[in-house]
């Protein structure tokens, strides 16, 4: 991998980290309306490891915990934050909010407030690419707990039977809300469920961005070559609660500390420094740039107008 790739991967992880950390502060300061946002701090390696291998024509579908995925696919922070603050300049003109940020021009075709809601749609995006002979793959992110919902099964089966170019990325952050996945998931793992559909199931360290990248790229190539879907289970951890307001009564501070030790950014940076691929200065510079981008987005969002209430019924129908 080239240095510029490493720098780009690091840059993207830092963008996500700074975006989410600032959003958390804004939430505490009561600057964010609605549900307490679902932050992805700690999970940056999955979003970036996967999206770094995607091309512009490739599609992404994300979840309620989707800020990292859309950033990694190239979304604009100004419009994201404006959306989260319910502003007219947001991606969805304030109609969607944190759980529905998408940039369709970047082929991010939807986030979802429904657990598992993106999976059936991803099947259709894959079908569409296959039908139209587009050389595009579709990445569908979902959480560990989503692996227990019926839509998971229907979607993985249908995509497999149609050999669609879909890559199923399960971010196993160990919990669905308060419930540890071990208490609700029968069977050995989520990855092992791939076999039920005759597709590869890969489990890996989701805090190792290069491991994610390598596995995702293999899946992307496989999909592009018409060999059908792959299921990847990436073990990771969300540092904050389910939403920013959750006090995490269901897990210990020790467990959290152990996972923070395995911070995907810290580990990656350590490796890069160690191998002298980047310098500490470069890292500091990227951090600054990321923080500046967020601060600009905050300014943009703050200064943006609210939607005109008279437009409330716009966008229901096309015509």
């Amino acid at each position: 991998m080239k240095t510029k790739d490493h720098l780009e991967i690091l840059r993207q992880m830092l963008r996500i980290r700074h975006f989410e950390e600032n959003l958390y502060k804004m939430y505490l300061a009561k600057q964010v309306p609605g549900m307490s946002p679902h932050l992805s701090v700690g999970q940056e390696a999955v979003a970036v490891g996967v999206c770094h291998g995607l091309k512009a024509q490739d599609y992404v579908l994300t979840t309620h915990r989707g800020h990292g995925h859309v950033l990694a696919k190239g979304a604009n922070m100004n419009r994201m934050l404006a959306e989260i603050m319910g502003k007219e300049t947001g991606y969805c003109h304030g109609r969607g909010g944190s759980m529905h940020i998408a940039d369709v021009k970047l082929n991010i075709v939807g986030a979802n407030g429904i657990v598992g809601g993106g999976l059936p749609i991803a099947v259709g995006v894959g079908l569409s690419c296959q039908y139209q002979g587009k050389n595009a793959v579709t990445v569908c992110f979902f959480g560990d707990a989503a692996a227990n919902i019926g839509a998971f099964h229907e979607s993985l089966n249908m995509a497999a039977v149609m050999k669609l170019p879909v890559i199923w990325i399960c971010e196993n952050n160990q919990y669905g809300l308060s419930t540890h996945i071990k208490r609700t998931l029968a069977g050995e793992s989520i990855a092992a469920r791939g076999a039920a559909y005759g597709i590869p199931g890969v489990r890996l360290d989701g805090n190792d961005v290069l491991a994610v990248h390598v596995a995702a790229n293999a899946a992307i190539e496989r999909a592009r070559a018409g060999q059908g879907p792959t299921l990847i289970e990436a073990d990771t951890y969300r540092w904050y609660g389910h939403g920013a307001s959750d006090n995490r009564s269901y897990r210990t501070r020790e467990e959290e500390a152990a996972w923070k030790e395995r911070c995907p950014i810290k580990r990656y940076v350590a490796g890069l420094l160690n191998e002298k691929i980047v310098t500490q200065e470069q890292v500091g510079q990227l951090e600054k740039v990321a923080e500046r981008e967020v601060q600009e987005a905050i300014k943009f969002a703050n200064e943006s107008p609210l939607p005109d209430p008279a437009t409330v019924t716009d966008y229901i129908f096309s015509a």
């Binding site: 109609r95 259709g124 569409s128 039977v161």
Partner: protein, 327 residues
């Protein structure tokens, strides 16, 4: 013009639109070589093959999801859900995704998607295969709900549904598939969505109905003509959006309104029509709007029970007579 059945009219609409636009495709259970459980896609697979006419697993949620994903990325899918009762298995996709995604994304996408399905009782198919669930979909902003009652309507409304850029619930009726009628062969024969049709003009009372009950309403109107009750019969064609202009125009002539539906009486389509007439046409009313509808019971299997549960021409006529009793 050619005579054909309701099911043939549907297949023809699909074939014509697939001929016209290579982005139209079809998905569903047994819709391929078998031609659909109601044989309403007979011949479509023979013409277009398995790439464009896709037999799916029994996975209603994924079927509608797949269609949605395709609609979001340049295609115009037609989905078949075999019985409307099975939309229970894809309600998340229909109500939370298909209906809302354009709005939630602030207009970034269009959803040109037709969900064909069929409902209705009258064949002793029992409680899980006889429902009329149009109100569920009408109650969700973001969906159009269309219900043809004749072969011509089946064709003209389906072609329009395929061409609009918004999601349409296209609800056929299981008893009507064998009905015959004259159907236009103009490849651009379109019946507009959102417009009701005065099927039978009349002076004394307005009957609003749709799908199979529309035909039974016409029967009742014939019977009542002999009693000097002149019914105007309106075929709603589209349940949502409701064509209140047509209803109010008729009411302003007749002063009386009966809604006839095969859904349950309580919380049905008739309730909304009645409420809107209350709000928008109160002064036109010479008496209360009445409803003839299915009893508030799961649909029974035994034909003798089903017959008393659902409307028929005699019940419709009786309801009309009661509206004139004492006048």
């Amino acid at each position: 013009m050619a005579e054909m059945t309701y099911r043939q009219a549907i297949a023809q609409a699909i074939i014509e639109e697939m001929d016209r636009d290579p982005n139209v495709l079809m998905l569903g259970e047994d819709v391929g070589p078998f031609g659909g459980a109601m044989a309403a896609s007979k011949g479509v697979h023979a013409r277009f093959g398995s790439r464009r006419v896709i037999d799916t697993p029994i996975s209603e949620e994924a079927i509608v999801g797949a269609a949605l994903g395709a609609a979001l990325t340049g295609l115009r899918p037609i989905v078949e859900i075999m019985f409307i009762d099975f939309t229970t298995g894809c309600m998340d996709m229909i109500a939370n995704q298909v209906a809302k995604v354009r709005y939630m994304l602030g207009g970034q996408v269009q959803v040109p998607l037709v969900i064909r399905t069929q409902g209705g009782a009258g064949k002793s198919y029992a409680a899980q295969h006889s429902q009329s669930l149009e109100m569920w979909f009408a109650a969700i902003p973001g969906l159009k709900v269309v219900t043809p009652s004749t072969p011509a309507e089946a064709k003209g409304l389906l072609k329009s549904s395929i061409r609009v850029d918004d999601p349409v619930m296209f609800i056929e009726n299981k008893v009507l598939y064998g009905d015959k009628g004259q159907v236009s062969d103009d490849p651009d024969f379109l019946i507009p969505i959102g417009k009701a049709n005065v099927v039978r003009p009349g002076a004394n009372v307005t009957i609003v109905s749709w799908s199979r009950q529309l035909l039974l309403s016409l029967k009742a109107a014939d019977a009542l003509a002999a009693e000097n009750i002149d019914c105007e019969v309106i075929d709603l064609r589209t349940i949502s959006p409701l064509d209140m202009d047509a209803i109010l125009a008729s009411l302003s002539k007749t002063g009386r309104l009966l809604v006839v539906e095969e859904g349950h009486k309580s919380f049905g389509i008739g309730a909304e029509i009645s409420a809107r007439v209350m709000e928008q046409g109160f002064d036109l009313l010479e008496g209360p709007v009445q409803r003839v509808a299915t009893l508030d019971t799961p649909i029974p299997f035994s034909p003798v029970l089903e017959a008393v549960a659902i409307p028929n021409a005699a019940k419709i006529a009786a309801a009309i007579r009661a509206m004139f009793a004492g006048t």
